[in-house]
C-alpha cells in the first residue's frame, strides 16, 4: 500500500504539487492520471526519495522509503525508461540492479524472459533500443526483486497495442496476487484499460479520485431524443427538474441517474432513442478541460 498525505512541493513561487493526498490500495491497480506537467512525476519522485517534499509525506507499506533496508526487494520503481547509460547492454543494466539487490545471477535471464526481451535484444546496447524495449527493460528492473509494490511512471509510453495489453495482464496478475500497483499516464484510455482506481491530478492538485466504477457512474446519464428538434424541450424539462445538462455528440449529458431522466422525458412527452449511463463521458470531459487549460497556457507562453 502507498499512502500519500498532504504532499506539497514548491519551486520558488511555483507549486508543482499542492496538498495531494491519496492511497494506492493493496491488490489494486491505481492509475495516476493527469496532463503533462500536472505534478505526477514530481509526486512519484518524492515517493522514492529522489525529491524532498516541501511539506507532507509518503509511506510505502507503512514506512518511509528511506527506511527500507533494500528497497529494490520491496518496491519496484520505473521513473524514466530512457534514463540509462546508452553504452550498457540491456542485460548489463539488469545485472547491475540484481547485484545491488543481492540477487542470484540467474534472476537476470528469468526476468528478461518475463518481460519478453530476447537473448539477442539483451546483448544490444541500450542506445539501439526502441522506446518500447526500454520500457520493457525498465519494467524488468522494477520486477526483478519480486517486490510487493510497483511505482511506474508512464510505463505504457512507447508500447504498441500488444505491448499495452501485455502490460495490463502483467499488472492485473501482480495486483490479483496481493501486490500494489501505482502507474501514471497522461492518456485517459490507457488508465481506463489498466486501472481499478483512478486519481486525477491537474495543476498540482487532485481533481477527482475513486474507483473506476465510481468515477464512471458519477458521469451521469446520456440521453438522445428520437427527433433532434425535441432535444431543447427535453433540456428545458430537465432544467425544470433541477437537472444540469450539457450538450454532447447530438445528445445531452444529464447529471442525474437514467431513471429520473427517463421519467422526466416521459412527463414531457419526448420520445427517446437512447438512454444510458454515460460511460466515463464526465471523466473524459473533466480530463479534456484539464488538458485544454494546459494547452492554452502552453500556447500563450
Amino acid at each position: 500500500m502507498i499512502s500519500v498525505e498532504h504532499l506539497t512541493k514548491q519551486y520558488g513561487p511555483f507549486t508543482a504539487v499542492d496538498n495531494v493526498s491519496f492511497t494506492a490500495a493493496t491488490g489494486r491497480v491505481t492509475g495516476f492520471l493527469g496532463p503533462n506537467g500536472a505534478g505526477k512525476s514530481t509526486t512519484m519522485r518524492i515517493m522514492v526519495g529522489l525529491t524532498r517534499p516541501s511539506t507532507g509525506h509518503v509511506t510505502v507499506s507503512g514506512r518511509d522509503y528511506r527506511e527500507l533496508v533494500n528497497p529494490g526487494l520491496e518496491v519496484g520503481v520505473l521513473l524514466d525508461a530512457s534514463a540509462q547509460h546508452a553504452g550498457r547492454t540491456g542485460r548489463e543494466i539488469l545485472a547491475i540492479a540484481a547485484q545491488t539487490m543481492g540477487l542470484p545471477k540467474s534472476s537476470v535471464a528469468e526476468t528478461l524472459a518475463r518481460v519478453g526481451l530476447t537473448e539477442d535484444e539483451a546483448e544490444r546496447r541500450v542506445r539501439n533500443y526502441s522506446l518500447g524495449m526500454r520500457q520493457r527493460l525498465g519494467i524488468a528492473t522494477a520486477l526483478i526483486g519480486d517486490p510487493q509494490v510497483l511505482i511506474l511512471d508512464e510505463p505504457a509510453n512507447g508500447l504498441d497495442p500488444a505491448g499495452i495489453r501485455w502490460m495490463r495482464d502483467l499488472l492485473r496478475g501482480f495486483a490479483d496476487q496481493g501486490g500494489t500497483v501505482l502507474l501514471s499516464s497522461h492518456l485517459l484510455h490507457e488508465i481506463e484499460v489498466i486501472a481499478d482506481d483512478i486519481v486525477v491530478i491537474g495543476h498540482g492538485h487532485i481533481v477527482a479520485q475513486g474507483s473506476k466504477a465510481e468515477l464512471l457512474a458519477a458521469a451521469g446519464t446520456l440521453v438522445r431524443t428520437a427527433d433532434p428538434s425535441q432535444q431543447d424541450r427535453l433540456a428545458r424539462a430537465l432544467h425544470e427538474a433541477s437537472v444540469v445538462t450539457t450538450p454532447i455528440d447530438g445528445g445531452l449529458r444529464a447529471d442525474a441517474d437514467p431513471e429520473l431522466v427517463g421519467e422526466t422525458a416521459h412527463r414531457a412527452g419526448v420520445v427517446l432513442r437512447e438512454l444510458r449511463a454515460a460511460d466515463g463521458a464526465g471523466l473524459e470531459e473533466m480530463f479534456l478541460e484539464l488538458t485544454a487549460d494546459t494547452a492554452r497556457e502552453g500556447a500563450a507562453a
Binding site: L50, Q84, G87, D169
Partner: protein, 278 residues
Amino acid sequence: MTTQIHEAGQVSAVAATTAPEAPAARRVVRPIPMTRLVGVELRKMFDTRAGFWLMASVGIVSVLATAAVIIWAPDEAITQNTFSTAIGMPLSVVLPIIAILSVTGEYSQRTGLTTYTLVPWRGRVMSAKVVSTLLVGVAAMVLALAVGALGNVVGSAITGLDAVWDVSLAQFGNIVLANVLGMLMGFMLGVLFRSSAGAIVGYFVYSLVLPVAFGALAAFQGWFRDLQPWVDVNFAVTRLYDQTMTAEYWQQLGVATLVWLWIPLAIGLRAILRAEVK
C-alpha cells in the same frame, strides 16, 4: 466500447499464464552491505565501452611510456626513476578523469535515477564511489610500478649496464599519495559540477591554467613567491613526486588541499545529498 475492453481485460487476466510470481509471502530483507556497493561501482567503471577503454588506457599508457624511455632515453638515464616519471605523467591525467566520470555518469547519463532509487542513501553511494575510485587508482599505480620495473630490467639488459633501482618505498608511497589526491580532486570536481563536460573542463583549468597563472604571479610578484606553496595546490602536490618532503612542505600541502580540495568537496557532497535527482 469501454465496457467491452474492461470485460476482455478480466477474461484475459484469468487466462493469463505470464502473470508474475506471487508477491504475497514476505521475505527477510537484509540491508545492502558496503562491500556490495563498492563491487557495483567498480563494475560500472568497466562495463561501458568508454569506461573499459579508459581503464585499458592505464595499461596502454604505461607500456607506451616505458617503450618510449627504452627507445629514446640515453643509456645513463635508464633508471627506475625515469620510468616512473615517464609513466606517472600521463597517468596523472587519466586517473582523475576516471574519478570524474564515476560521479558525473550518474547525472550526465541520468543513471542516478535508478542508482539512488535502489540505494536511497546518497552518502553511501558516494562513499562506495570514493572507495572504488581509490582502489582503481592504487591498482593502476601498482601496475605502473610493475611495468616500469619490467622496462628497467629490459632497458638495462639492452644497454648492458646494471639496473638502477632508485625509487624507494617511501618515494613510491608519495607518488601514490599524489595520484590519490589528483583523483580526489577529480572526484571533487565531479561532485561539484555533476556534469562530465563541466567537470573535465574544470579539471584542466585546475591542472593546466591555475599552475601557469600562479607561476607567472610568483615570477613577477616577489610578495607572492613565499605564499605560493601555501595556495598553489599543484605546486604543493608536485613536490610529492620529486622532492624530499619536509614538515613545512607537508603543512603547505595540507593548507593548499584544504582550500582547493577538502572544502569544495564538502560543499559538493552536501549539494549531492540535498539536490533533486531528475
